[in-house]
Symmetry: C2
Subunit: 210 residues, 2 copies
């Protein structure tokens, strides 16, 4: 089995969905976490794909772009959906979660208080629309007591879980009761966290703010 | 063959890579372009996936998220890469192009002149780093006189072509000579535009500013 090296900062951030796929698959990986200073030195070597993180190195092949890496691993280990339509649905959920992350980052970096409040109002609406759509998607998939796409856990559920960690308890926007209005999604989140391989990873991973 | 309906505004924007895949494949599609007013009415019907555009409807199934749609079509019609590693490389190029588009949109909407100038300086650096990485990626693929990934044209090349239309001649940032320092990419762009199915689409599509 190839040895994957996931290279990122000491954060969940954009590397966590890939770490979750590898954990769900029961595949050991090297979990490399640079400090900002280490990254500046490493970056200057020019060996990182497109000069950005996260990267993944496997047997000397370097890949970049968080979602490309996560999808590659999901394709390799059976978490990407079986048909092209299932794969598209997984991708839709992953990109929808990225939209939620980007909105949150935008609020985090906004310095003007009035603008920050406006962005937050827009964001809350966006989150509500998104969660309603995802609740429907989950319910439409065999009643909603399984997973978002197909018959088993996929990168869709893992991306959703990872993003909800931010929405439920990040220092940027903490809404611990956010999922109370979306009972199927709330149960899904608990179901993902209880998968033995995922539970073991959540227990063992470094505890970080982001 | 299923009838795909690509639903977007009267713009290239985030729908064009999907239109390019369908054109490259020689697959006819319905090219629906809403005005903003029409979209407000349509959106209120609730029938659009996650309430956003672009969407694609195929035999009653609605998909959203521009890159999920483009990748679905690429998987269906043989433009997504053959192996998981090729697919990952295609995804990396597509996400890298999306990063360039997002940077451009950020500049477009920035109202403060000093901030706009600062963002533009950062963007120019980002574009230079990205194009250098892509020129290397292309060159590393059999010398660089073919395509970005594998042996034939893929969604990687089509995404790149589509993004370069913005970088070379958009009203936001026009750098018509941008590719002069990247001869392999410049030749790739010309090669894509000259593919008979792509040339026919470029000739026939509605001419739009964005």
């Amino acid at each position: 089995m190839p040895k994957h090296r996931i290279i990122y900062f000491n954060a969940r951030g954009r590397a966590e969905p890939s770490r979750l796929v590898l954990s769900a698959a029961g595949v050991e990986f090297e979990d490399i976490r640079f400090t900002s200073e280490e990254w500046e030195t490493e970056k200057a070597t020019g060996k990182y794909h497109f000069g950005q993180l996260p990267c993944m190195e496997t047997d000397g092949v370097m890949l970049s772009q968080s979602r490309a890496i996560a999808r590659y691993l999901a394709n390799e280990y059976g978490f990407a959906g079986r048909t092209n339509l299932e794969k598209a649905k997984v991708d839709i959920v992953m990109d929808t979660c990225e939209d939620l992350l980007q909105g949150m980052i935008k609020i985090h970096f906004e310095k003007d208080d009035a603008k920050k409040a406006e962005l937050t109002t827009q964001y809350d609406k966006k989150v509500a629309t998104t969660l309603a759509s995802l609740e429907k998607m989950l319910t439409d998939n065999n009643g909603g007591d399984g997973f978002l796409v197909g018959d088993g856990v996929s990168l869709a559920d893992l991306s959703f879980y990872s993003q909800m960690e931010y929405n439920l308890s990040s220092p940027i926007l903490s809404s611990p009761n956010l999922l109370d209005s979306y009972p199927k999604l709330k149960a899904l989140n608990a179901r993902v966290a209880a998968l033995p391989n995922i539970a073991a990873w959540l227990e063992k991973r470094p505890k970080t703010e982001f």
